[in-house]
Symmetry: C2
Subunit: 195 residues, 2 copies
């Protein structure tokens, strides 16, 4: 196996990349600027030592606390709870939310032996008790595990007096009734809003 | 911009990779085995110095001549002409062909100023004149440029006495008449074979 085939093999390990896409990428790299290649390779080897979870919210960051936690202009009364560190970047990209985050690092999945304690839900509870939050927004995915985790968190935060909300679930914008599954349709009915 | 965002940006330059796929890959890399990451980065920086075009056929190779050109078991009377170095790997993967290759490095495109000489077609002609080939198979894509280049090569090889053939063009296996375009359908009629 030569470097070319080895590199195709490496790229095809990545999520969403098949053999053909990997070959196309390696062909691109063969003709790419050598300066870019060295920079790219350097970023890959330094990635894991530079990027760590924020000690406050759990988002991926180079500085600790992360730029969001240490930004004085964020709304410190709002806390958005997400499953994974990468969900923070997705929500940030929407520019819809200006509060703080809390990364669970997973969802409650009794069959896989993942309970509330291994997810750092106790850490979330103590953070909510300490901080002056007025609302906790549960932004876990609208799946069985995501819903279960959201309901569990709602319960354990019940006596804190903080308002607990959940992201709306329904038809995606640009979607089509014809292609909506029964559950999504049912949720979009139950969560209907006045016009 | 931190290393994470820089790396997402780097990956999203690659063909077929959007921002979301890039973010998913970088998340994968964050959790990947550090040994794999170092190896992967090393392969990227050494790629361009290790992989060169074969001086005989033009395919990407680490050794020169390439493993195909120097393999004594290949059928030395067959020569398959392809547009790009990566086409060699695609044809090799089909295991349908055991002869030699010739990479043009492009197709005739007068509007882009690409003529026969800049494609090394003279090199192909002299290779065919020297070598004991019985057949030259033109495997350029069935596009306007691919067809033009194939017709041109057929003409310049006319006086060599070597048989010049072209890959069959028609309906793809598993395809559907309903989705075939008019030209493909027309070619599949003209190239029909007896059953």
């Amino acid at each position: 196996m030569n470097t070319l085939d080895e590199l195709v093999e490496s790229f095809s390990r990545f999520p969403g990349i098949g053999k053909k896409s990997a070959a196309r990428i390696v062909t691109y790299l063969l003709k790419a600027d050598p300066v870019f290649l060295r920079q790219f390779a350097h970023r890959i080897v330094t990635l894991q030592e530079r990027i760590r979870p924020c000690s406050v919210c759990g988002a991926y960051t180079e500085a600790d606390p992360c730029p969001i936690c240490s930004d004085p202009s964020r709304e410190k009364t709002l806390l958005c709870v997400v499953e994974q560190p990468q969900d923070v970047a997705i929500i940030e990209a929407s520019r819809e939310y200006a509060g703080l985050f809390h990364v669970l690092g997973g969802l409650i999945a009794p069959l896989d032996g993942v309970g509330p304690d291994s997810l750092g839900i106790p850490r979330l509870v103590s953070r909510v008790r300490e901080g002056g939050f007025s609302e906790v927004i549960l932004a876990t995915n609208p799946t069985v595990e995501g819903d279960t985790t959201a309901f569990y968190i709602r319960q354990v935060l019940a006596d804190t007096g903080v308002r607990v909300t959940r992201l709306a679930s329904g038809l995606p914008v640009g979607g089509d009734l014809e292609y909506a599954d029964r559950l999504t349709l049912s949720r979009s009915f139950r969560g209907r809003t006045s016009l």
